[in-house]
């Protein structure tokens, strides 16, 4: 595709080849090639609102610990592995080698 800069020398001959005129009638308007999705499986739900959590991370940890303690313990734990999404603080006050 002919670039608007013509055949002027460039360090890498492929440098400006990704640009395409967005509108064939005005070949000087160059935009990078873009791709449109063919499906909508990855769209967010229409009523989704993304906000920052108001509680800071310290309070989040405190509440998490409190919830763990208040939940009555099962006599025999069915799951030996921690549940999903339940982050655990390091229990010991020791360094881990970086």
């Amino acid at each position: 595709m002919g670039s608007v800069l013509g055949d002027w020398p460039s360090y890498d001959p492929h440098n400006f080849s990704q640009l395409r005129p967005s509108d064939p009638s005005t070949p000087s308007k160059m935009t990078p090639t873009t791709y449109q999705p063919t499906h909508n499986r990855t769209l967010p739900p229409p009523d989704q609102v993304i906000t920052t959590e108001t509680k800071n991370i310290l309070l989040r940890h405190i509440y998490q610990r409190a919830e763990e303690k208040l939940r009555p313990k099962r006599a025999a734990p069915e799951h030996l592995l921690p549940e999903h999404g339940c982050k655990q603080l390091r229990a010991s006050v020791q360094d881990t080698p970086c």
Partner: protein, 575 residues
């Protein structure tokens, strides 16, 4: 015609070669080799750094850190010894650097100065050689007095260690109090063992012109005013701990300058608790808490010989009730087996029940607008200086839901881990003060973290170490100076002689050195308190305090002896 073609051809060749050079060569400079380039261009020369700042953006998120590196170049290296200054008690610079707060020696007046800078000109060739003109070496050339306001009336004194600054509106909060009365009788709901002050007044001033906007008075009460211990400012919310009546008063500072009561947590948690309890249980004398206290100690008073289960003394209300029920529920939920539950309750709860009942609120801080971190302890430890031997507990309280969220003892590893990982969230700041995020703590600075690690490794007992670290919680409001010269990633200095905390220290004759952290790790400047030639009299103990301007290369060092002699004030600035 041929000439024109020839000329234009030459022109094209010339332009083409320029373009070729720019693009071809430009790629080498602009492209790879970032680290090599950094080494090449990271110079300590200030001009080189300014040029670097013009052409390169710092890595994402580090623009403030890169800007602070200029404080390695601009240092308060010049000292004017023993400046002639008015005999005031210099308290501190406000955190936005606009005002210097001072109190008069008789603790009754407030004097506010505005920090300015020297202005004199030198028209000769080499000005550095010349010493400063004698006019410059005065206090007045650095500060202009704005006003002098009398805050305390005849029998009151301004508490010289208390000052809170609300940066958004430029309001200052000061406190005046009458004399302390020890061994005050415990009347009207007060607890025994805490001294009483007849009148404590909090004054809210607009610092621009010294107008007193509002006042809040506490009568026959006790608030720990030293070093802002009993009062915490978060944004526009104030938490004042009344030790004597065991209440945390939450106040809001409005933009108009009014101090508005929001709630009082202690005997009652919600605003309508008192009404509810009074209307539903008129026979219960909860107003008469002193009677309740005396009965629990099994005193026989006025012939009343009621058992411990009588309604008057078994009714615990307010935050104490929340705390006890939280502890109870925690122990109850640990075990599903009923007999074991009861056993644990007996051992862990009822055995210590009287100790839990006797706990009092020591200190409070905000964790965010709705959560308080409350430190509980015994009555003896409330006013003593060393709190190591007294058991202490921490509770996180949600003011909106009036729930206790967490309860820890002061040697709890869990709380220490939270403190270690999220120290900055304990130093709660308002949204307006960005500089607070850069005060070195072990959560945001690797050198402070290393210091903490080495302390931990050296500690003989883990539980003692945890107790010592947690003793600093809840933190004092506005206790640390935001000056970049205390930034541990810029400078290394002796923490025992000087630090960001504004406490008095032992004074030495040797100057305090500030050494660069980064290569070349040289000594950058020294701060020497006291007169230039050292002290003549080495026997008397001297204490020094330092006031650093938050962002200018300017500091005051004040050396005092303990005998009310006038202090020696030195000015350190960049000449």
């Amino acid at each position: 015609m041929l000439q024109n073609v020839h000329a234009s051809y030459l022109m094209l060749c010339y332009l083409g070669s320029i373009f070729y050079l720019l693009v071809f060569r430009g790629n080498i400079i602009l492209g790879g080799g970032a680290s090599a380039r950094a080494l090449m261009f990271r110079s300590n020369n200030i001009v080189a750094r300014i040029f670097e700042r013009q052409i390169r953006t710092p890595p994402p998120g580090t623009s403030v850190h890169c800007a602070r590196r200029f404080y390695e170049n601009l240092v308060p290296s010049y000292t004017i010894y023993d400046v002639e200054c008015p005999d005031h008690l210099f308290r501190k610079f406000t955190d936005d650097g606009q005002y210097l707060i001072c109190f008069s020696r008789n603790h009754q007046e407030l004097i506010v100065y505005r920090p300015t800078w020297l202005s004199f000109s030198c028209t000769e060739e080499d000005c550095d050689v010349h010493d400063l003109p004698p006019k410059a070496k005065k206090f007045d050339s650095f500060f202009t007095q704005l006003y002098c306001v009398s805050l305390a009336s005849s029998n009151e004194l301004i508490c010289k260690d208390f000052f809170l600054y609300m940066e958004s509106n430029r309001f200052g909060l000061f406190a005046t109090s009458t004399a302390q009365i020890h061994d005050a009788p415990a009347v009207g709901g007060a607890i025994q063992g805490v001294p009483s002050i007849e009148k404590i007044t909090f004054h809210l001033l607009r610092l621009e012109d010294g107008v007193v906007l509002d006042e809040k008075v506490f009568n026959d009460d006790f608030v720990n005013l030293a070093h802002n211990m009993g009062v915490f400012l978060y944004d526009d919310l104030l938490a004042i701990v009344s030790l004597r009546y065991q209440t945390v008063h939450i106040l809001q500072i409005r933009d108009s300058g009014n101090l508005v009561d929001v709630r009082a947590i202690g005997a009652f948690c919600r605003e309508d608790d008192e009404l509810f309890l009074n209307s539903n249980a008129p026979s219960m004398g909860i107003r008469d808490k002193s009677k309740q206290h005396q009965l629990t100690e099994n005193h026989v008073e006025n012939g009343l010989q009621q058992s411990r289960l009588s309604p008057e003394n078994a009714f615990v209300s307010g935050i104490k009730q929340r705390l006890l029920s939280f502890i109870f529920r925690g122990i109850w939920n640990e075990e599903t087996n009923h007999t074991l539950r009861v056993q644990y309750l007996k051992k862990k709860f009822y055995f210590h029940f009287q100790d839990y009942i006797d706990l009092i609120i020591w200190k409070v801080q905000f964790l965010d607008r709705h959560h308080l971190l409350i430190k509980f302890g015994s009555v003896d430890g409330a006013v003593s200086r060393t709190t190591d031997h007294h058991p202490a507990f921490f509770a996180v309280y949600n003011m909106e839901t009036t729930d206790i969220v967490a309860f820890y003892q002061n040697n709890a590893d869990e709380l220490y881990l939270l403190f270690e990982h999220f120290c900055d969230h304990f130093h709660t700041t308002s949204k307006n003060s960005l500089y607070m995020n850069f005060i070195s703590s072990h959560s945001n600075n690797i050198h402070t973290r290393e210091q903490l690690r080495s302390l931990r490794n050296k500690a003989t007992s883990s539980s003692q170490f945890v107790k010592k670290m947690l003793a600093s919680l809840p933190i004092n409001s506005q206790a640390l100076s935001p000056s970049p010269y205390f930034d541990q990633s810029l400078y290394r200095f002796d923490e025992k002689l000087i630090s960001a905390a504004d406490r008095h220290r032992q004074s030495t004759d040797h100057p305090i050195k500030f050494i660069l952290r980064r290569p070349p790790q040289t000594l950058r400047f020294k701060i020497k308190p006291g007169p230039e030639g050292g002290n003549i009299d080495n026997r008397t103990k001297k204490i020094s305090s330092f006031l650093f301007h938050p962002f200018l290369p300017f500091a005051l060092s004040i050396q005092q002896t303990l005998f009310l002699q006038p202090s020696a004030v030195n000015v350190h600035f960049r000449r």
